[in-house]
Amino acid sequence: MKTGWFTTLAVSAAALAVVAPAVSADLTPELKALAKAADKEGEILVMWSASTMGGPKGAEIFQNRMNKMYGTNIKVKWAPGPSMPRMGNRVAMSYTNNLPSPTDVYMGFSRNMATLHKHKLFHSAPWEKYYPGWMDGRVVEQNGTLVRVMSVTLGFTYNTKLAPFPPTKVSDFLKPGWKGKVATTPYAAGFEQLASKEVWGAKKAIGFVEGFTNQIAGFMRCSEHERLTSGEFLALIFDCSGDSMQRAIAKGAPLKRVVPEDAPLVSYFYFGVPKNAPHSNGGKLLAAYAGSKEGQRTVYELTMGDIHTLPGSVQGKEIAALEAKIGRKFVDADVNWQLANKEGNKAQGQAKKIMRKASKKK
């Protein structure tokens, strides 16, 4: 047992040595200036769920590695936050009322970022000057206001012990065995993507939702893997990124995440630094770190996801393998795609209404 721990520690230390160059001298002048300004602010407030980005432990890992990399002494303070859409609304509410943002970095999904787009909430920054040749269009979107943190495939997770049969397609959940046993998110995450013309189209997606409402037992957030593990619900459709599920699976939970053959789509999680963030330099530094080569390894370690378009990405290899298997390219759903997906966005609103009305008919 002792040997096991020692090996783990040694491997972690070696990995850390590779991951973190620990030399602030290698930084560009712009990044050095940002690090200095962030260091002066002293702390970074982050708010997301306990199983998003590793929760409090993830925040601590970010803090330690970031400080080592940039030669700073910044405290990353985590607090449990509501769902991504709700958190986004909270940030927007604080901004429109001239109040300080509750978080220095807002983490949101492509769809949330598209919804918040009209409020022009986020700072832009010269990301490519921080990491030349790396933090370019593959990482940064919307005129430098959003930094991609990881790619997110549209998928679902189910309890392998209790499921009536192993589902492989979204349409499998219309089968009788799932009646009254599945959950979805209250904000109908992923349904706008399913309803896009590139995936199913609105008509087919709404038809699915009408049948699917009879199968729904309740609503849960994407991060609540415990509710699937315990058997409260047997499957979550869709599961946002499935990152918390993947982590639970790695710890031995009887769950399986599936990227359905009939809905191949990849979108992103982003970091945005609110214009009313109390520590905006700190927020930018954290976003810069998350998008950097080293930061991407940390993100993968915490979420089992990274930006699939970057060289060396683990998720990139997984997506390529899936594309080869189904013989179809994944739809790339960035914020611009979400903004243009009028058909899907409208269908999502309809889906929410249908599901809300039928929510208690078990």
């Binding site: 306990a50 409090p56 978080t103 209250p186 904000y187 058997g231 409260e232 208690k360």
Partner: protein, 583 residues
């Protein structure tokens, strides 16, 4: 014209001759009264503003009311809330009335213990009980359901706590102590003459209860019923824990959803319209309540003669009585607590088995966000000290102005102090949120501070505080104060050296009670908390939402453990003063 007349009456009255202390107390009472009235007025004002209320382009319109009334979901929420409140009321009365009757009208031994347990039972946070019941009767993971389906080979779980009935059941069990406390006083004050006459005429016990005891107690029971119904209507804890994830919304959870929706910015206008409708409903219920109070003389049987309530020997029914009480405590308090402990030790919720026992650990406790938890404890501790202290200082001032001063229209202040009792607290929460965001935002930056919580907690508790100080001050004869005044004492000296020392037992009792209620307060805190003023119950709520059962159960147990020393102190004080049996 009217104001000139009031001013003249004020100038000519004895009150005008008050010293600085008198005027200070009047100022405190006047200011808080104005604030209590202003909050619902702001809520109403914002309910009829379209657009951002402070924007010059905002216009007056009924759009928010139209939105509320045109959405079929509003009616569903209303039906849910009514169903939930009615079930909660029935369950509370079913357990509360017989317990009160047993405590007041029978020879049941150990009554002080019963009183103490029922009073302390009120302090168990609603969200703790709700979590416990979810672990017990959830259709898929509920322990009872799993056992029942396995034992009897059932295809479906026999119980479902995630229904209006289930939620009402849990809320009713939580409110049974309120029904107990309110109806015990009715049974205590009942003249036994009519019951004795009925018995002498050969009526059976059940007939006496049905035809004499219950009709006599009816006004008191109805008053308790209205009060419990109002609490149920605005209850947040139980619907939030059990109903939210099953999309069963009641008024309070729907209101919170409007303040923090999934897919849009906060709908303050809709929340304000909903609040206004609830103020109207509360007004109607209060009017009905006061009518009942006025009619109680029809049922008055207390005469000038000395009398003792009729004590009924339980004889062979003693075990049945204890069985009934034990059943209540086991299902309402003990079982949810045990399930919380069990849930906090498991990686995910499971029924007891060797596998589950092997997987038990303290991981959920270890992995708690301790920095945030400590911050929550610190903020809660500050509020727990300041809220009762400020509330009672203000309550003494209210009581002095209402009962001792001669200021014209002083009974109006008593009415205002009673308002937070009549209007659901959540409305005051919404009111102060809108007040800080739109009225005093730039002048006094209250949003996100502990001060905003302190102010709303004080407003919410001032009804209780003034009821306590009023009832005690009435019992103190004016002669004592007059003697002090004749000896040259100022109003301040009279208050400090005469009134407060005589009120001390009541003040200690009320202080502890308010402190304990502040410690577990969730509804108001959820509306007004940001990350800078987070309280411990809000940390519980956040973890329930963001981290799942295990961590939420763990931190709830920590919260209960932290309450224990105060509960023990409260128990000791009530035993020493006997105050809990008098109220």
């Amino acid at each position: 014209m009217a104001s000139t007349s009031i001013a003249r009456r004020l100038r000519d009255s004895d009150f005008a001759r008050q010293d600085g202390w008198g005027w200070s107390m009047f100022a405190v009472v006047g200011l808080l009264s104005a604030f209590i009235i202003v909050l619902p007025v702001i809520v109403f004002w914002l309910s009829i503003r379209e657009g951002r209320p402070i924007d010059p382009e905002a216009v007056y319109s009924l759009v928010h009311y139209i939105e509320v009334f045109s959405d079929s979901f509003s009616y569903e929420v209303l039906a849910n809330t009514l169903g939930f409140s009615i079930v909660a009321l029935v369950v509370a009365l079913v357990f509360g009335i017989p317990t009160a009757w047993l405590a007041e009208r029978t020879d049941l031994p150990g009554k002080p213990v019963l009183y103490t347990l029922m009073t302390i039972g009120l302090l168990m946070p609603g969200f703790a009980a709700a979590m416990g019941w979810l672990f017990l009767m959830h259709p898929r993971i509920g322990m009872l359901n799993i056992w029942a389906t396995e034992l009897f080979g059932l295809a479906e779980a026999p119980f479902d706590i995630a229904t209006i009935f289930g939620m009402g059941w849990v809320q009713g069990l939580n409110l049974a102590p309120v029904a107990f406390i309110m109806t015990a006083a009715v049974f205590r004050a009942m003249d036994p003459a009519l019951e004795e006459s009925a018995e002498m005429s050969g009526a059976k016990f059940s007939t006496i209860v049905r035809k004499v005891t219950l009709p006599l107690a009816w006004p008191g029971i109805l008053a308790a019923g209205i009060y419990i119904f109002t609490i149920g209507f605005a209850a947040f804890d139980v619907p939030a824990i059990i109903g939210w994830s099953n999309r069963i919304f009641t008024f309070s959870t729907y209101m919170i959803l409007q303040l923090n929706p999934d897919d849009d910015l906060p709908q303050y206008g809709v929340a304000a319209a909903l609040s206004t409708l609830v103020i109207l409903l509360a007004g109607l219920l209060s009017w009905w309540y006061s009518r009942l109070q006025r009619q109680t003389h029809r049922y008055q049987v207390v005469t000038g003669k000395g009398y003792r309530p009729r004590i009924m020997p339980l004889r062979g029914y003693l075990w049945a009585a204890w069985g009934f009480l034990a059943l209540y405590f086991v299902i309402a308090k003990l079982m949810p607590l045990l399930l919380l402990i069990w849930g906090s030790l498991l990686p995910y919720f499971q029924v007891p088995s060797m596998e589950a026992i092997r997987s038990m650990s303290l991981d959920h406790f270890r992995e708690l966000p301790w920095g945030l938890t400590v911050e929550g404890i610190k903020n809660t501790a500050i509020l727990m000290v300041l809220t009762p202290t400020v509330t009672l200082v203000i309550s003494v001032a209210f009581s002095w102005v209402v009962l001792r001063s001669k200021v014209p229209g002083r009974s109006f202040f008593d009415f205002v102090a009673f308002l937070p009792h009549a209007i659901p607290n959540i409305v005051f929460g919404v009111g102060i949120l809108l007040f800080t965001l739109y009225v005093v935002r730039n002048a006094i930056p209250l949003y996100g501070t502990l001060w905003i919580l302190l102010i709303v907690f004080v407003v919410a508790r001032v009804s209780y505080g003034t009821r306590m100080t009023n009832s005690s001050l009435i019992q103190i004869h004016k002669e004592l104060e007059e003697s002090a005044t004749m000896s040259g004492a100022s109003t301040g000296s009279v208050v400090r050296h005469v009134i407060v020392p005589l009120l001390t037992p009541t003040l200690i009792y009320a202080w502890l009670w308010i402190a304990l209620l502040t410690f577990r307060e969730l509804t108001l805190a959820v509306i007004l908390t940001t990350r800078d003023n987070v309280t411990l119950p809000v940390v519980v709520w956040s973890l329930w939402n963001a981290s799942g059962f295990g961590q939420a159960a763990a931190i709830t147990l920590i919260l209960i453990a932290l309450m224990l020393p105060l509960i023990i102190l409260y128990w000791w004080v009530t035993r020493a003063t006997g105050l809990n049996q008098e109220r």
